[in-house]
């Protein structure tokens, strides 16, 4: 009798599927050695960018990474849709400000402050996380969103509190003006006076949290959280106290957010209500979803992309780099085999040369002479007066791109791709690169759409199956 149940074939298919594709292979390498790669890059970064601004961008990126790591515990592991998350970031920041500024005249040692904030916020999180025992999904989301709104309202309005037995109104949060004059951190006698200091502090913290969560992920608690996300009822029946573990996940995420909040307050030397809005909440979620829910490396990677890319897009050079890089990677990934890629690339050149000759001879007025070397022969440079024409081309480009995506038959599709790619570069060089404020948003949005379309479960997220 043949051996039953040894279907190696399934194994083979799974293995090949997980290894196939450039992105998949990159993901594999990153998921194994990602922390070392990240640390090396992050250590080199401040010396490459040099200026204070670049380091500030790095600080924001690391803060976002820390926030995404905390949110990953709540959303990625336990599957609790928490829209109040940013409130705990705010609580941490205000907590640090209360205990390290002239607001109440308290200047406690930094480590003590952070410890107090962490413990208090864990308890607050455990209290406010109680609804998670019963509520799931959108119901929990709307309830926790209320927590965030309540926090913002309190921060805005607790500046003229009338208390019994106290003369005059008492200002706790400083209202819309927040609390300024927050002292920098001082750890073990070392005063963190510069942005650079906080950069390295955050780097240490991100690594520590990532390692700690990695350990937790493999423990019985981590496995139980994932089981709760998969099927709460079945998890409960398998001896897991689901209610208590959900609350712990919620409070753990809140604590990580609060610790990041203390650093944020110290870097900014102040806290203001407008720092903790729904907009920030969406950014944190975007980072986590882009990186892949449930993946520690993904949370960090997503945060870095979300925080760095808009900064990279500030300069035309950076924007160009991203645009052509994206175009190249996209073409190589989508236009297979190589012959087809060569066809399309050649087609774009040919169309460009013909178009340029026609335009130069028929309407020389709209063209503005010669431009940057690489595009000389095939790219039309429009005169600044022809801006309406370029705007029309922009609309044409969008229609062409959509048509190229929608059409399936290759013999109709490839010519469209050629036309779409050409107008894309044309509009890009003539219009978009000149107006960075619009381009940043557009390009950033397009990048996110493309990345999510290519990897629906996030860059480093695992494919999830709901019912089979």
């Amino acid at each position: 009798m043949a051996e039953i149940g040894t279907d190696r074939w399934v194994d083979e298919v799974e293995r090949r599927r997980s290894e196939s594709g450039a992105l998949g292979r990159l993901g594999q390498i990153l998921s194994r050695r990602w922390l070392a790669v990240f640390v090396v890059v992050a250590l080199v970064y401040p010396f490459v960018v040099g200026g204070d601004f670049g380091i500030r961008v790095g600080v924001n990126a690391l803060l976002l990474a820390l926030l995404a790591l905390g949110l990953n515990v709540v959303v990625g592991y336990a599957g609790l849709l928490d829209l109040g998350y940013v409130a705990y970031y705010g609580l941490g920041a205000y907590g640090y400000a209360f205990l390290s500024s002239d607001q109440f005249g308290i200047h406690a040692p930094t480590l003590l402050v952070v410890a107090i904030v962490a413990i208090v916020v864990f308890l607050v999180g455990a209290l406010l996380g109680q609804p998670a025992r019963r509520l799931v999904g959108d119901y929990l989301a709307i309830l926790t969103l209320f927590f965030l709104q309540a926090f913002i309202e309190l921060a805005l309005n607790l500046d003229r509190l009338q208390l019994p037995f106290v003369d005059g109104p008492l200002s706790i949060t400083g209202g819309p003006n927040g609390i300024s004059g927050v002292s920098p951190m001082e750890i073990l006698g070392f005063r963190l006076g510069q942005v650079r200091d906080y950069y390295f502090l955050l780097l240490v913290l991100v690594v520590a949290v990532a390692v700690g969560l990695g350990n937790l992920e493999r423990s019985r608690t981590g496995i139980a959280w994932r089981a709760i996300r998969e099927d709460t009822l079945a998890a409960e029946q398998m001896t897991i106290p689901t209610g208590a573990l959900k609350v712990i996940a919620y409070a753990t995420g809140a604590t990580i957010a609060a610790v990041s909040g203390t650093i944020f307050a110290a870097v900014q030397l102040g806290v203001f209500p407008q720092n903790f809005t729904v907009a920030l909440l969406i950014v944190v979620y975007a980072a986590l979803i882009l990186g892949g829910e449930g993946s520690i490396a993904g949370a960090v990677l997503g945060a870095l992309i979300i925080a760095m890319v808009p900064e990279l897009l500030r300069t035309p050079t950076g924007a160009r780099f991203l645009f052509y890089g994206g175009l190249f990677v996209g073409s190589v990934a989508l236009l297979r085999p190589w012959r087809r890629l060569a066809w399309v690339a050649g087609g774009v050149m040919a169309v460009g040369v013909v178009a340029k000759v026609i335009v130069m001879t028929l309407w020389p007025a709209v063209a503005a002479g010669e431009g940057g070397g690489l595009f000389d022969r095939w790219l039309i440079r429009f005169d600044p007066s022809a801006v309406t024409l370029v705007n029309v081309l922009f609309v044409v480009m969008i229609v062409l791109v959509l048509a190229a995506i929608a059409l399936r038959a290759p013999w109709r599709r490839d010519p469209l791709i050629v036309l779409a790619a050409y107008t894309l570069v044309l509009v890009w060089e003539n219009r978009l690169v000149e107006t960075p404020s619009i381009t940043r948003q557009l390009l950033f949005g397009a990048l996110l759409v493309v990345l999510m379309a290519v990897r629906p479960y996030g860059l480093l997220g695992r494919r999830r199956v709901e019912v089979v």
Binding site: R220, I223, E230, T239
Partner: protein, 261 residues
């Protein structure tokens, strides 16, 4: 000695009486089958025992003490674990993880030590994994080796049923509630699952309460059979006694004159 005892167990859903004053005793080392037409209330009995919802009346005794007010995870940790009629394995977790999940109550390492990755935490994680692998070995070669680290969604239907049984065993329970273990299986697999249920009792000493529609399975494994219809126990005894009971025949087939017509 009675492991599980149901006394006058009653459950209403609105105006519908789903389980009506059910008395049932399962003794140590017994395999008892619960049969009855669809909608008779069999799965509701399982849900009541495992604490998914509380009974409206009556009592459930596990080894002499009431478990009616306990939460689901406490009941499981006390020694009654179940499988589900509609499979509920954790699809996006690996085969081994599915079993490790159920060992939660046996772990001693808390969240802080887990984060720090202390030697005790590592040792415990290794131990739980080793236990899970050994548990899966009970099913022959089907769920071992390269299967350990495959996602559960890659398993066949029959293997998912086996995985659910392994998971229930991993809770450390002494009593298993199996909800239609042979549902959706082909004749060969059905035969195998019958033998497996026998081995669970004979080799590993489990006490088993099983819901089953396949009468060959019921006949093959049961020490005793209880038949339910509209929430009422209409017969109890050996398979032959219950199968020939007029009330049971009527519940399954309708009244004699209706067939004759």
């Amino acid at each position: 000695m009675a492991v599980l005892e149901l006394r006058g167990l009653t459950k209403r859903f609105g105006g519908l009486l789903v389980v009506d004053g059910l008395d049932l005793v399962v003794r140590e080392g017994e395999i008892v089958s619960l049969i009855g037409p669809n909608g008779a209330g069999k799965t509701t009995v399982f849900n009541l025992i495992s604490g998914i919802f509380p009974p409206d009346d009556g009592d459930i005794l596990l080894e002499g003490s009431s478990i009616v007010r306990l939460a689901g995870h406490e009941i499981a940790a006390r020694g009654v674990a179940r499988t589900f009629q509609t499979l509920r394995v954790f699809l996006n977790m690996t085969v081994a993880e599915n079993v490790v999940v159920a060992e939660y109550a046996r772990g001693r390492v808390g969240i802080l030590r887990s984060i720090l990755g202390t030697p005790a935490a590592r040792r415990e994680a290794r131990q739980l994994r080793a236990d899970a692998e050994q548990r899966l070995g009970f099913f022959g070669k089907r769920l071992v080796g390269y299967r350990f680290d495959q996602p559960a969604y890659s398993l066949s239907y029959a293997n998912r049923r086996r995985l659910e049984i392994a998971r229930a065993m991993a809770t450390g329970a002494r009593m298993l509630l199996l909800d239609e273990p042979a549902a959706g299986m082909n004749p060969a697999e059905t035969h195998e699952i019958s033998r497996l249920i026998g081995r669970l009792r004979d080799d590993l000493g489990y006490t088993i309460l099983v819901i089953e529609h396949d009468m060959h399975v019921v006949e093959g494994i049961s020490d005793r059979v209880a038949a339910l219809d509209h929430g009422v126990k209409i017969a109890e005894g050996s398979f032959e006694e219950v199968a020939s009971d007029p009330a049971v025949v009527e519940a399954y087939l309708g009244k004699g004159d209706a067939i004759a017509k």
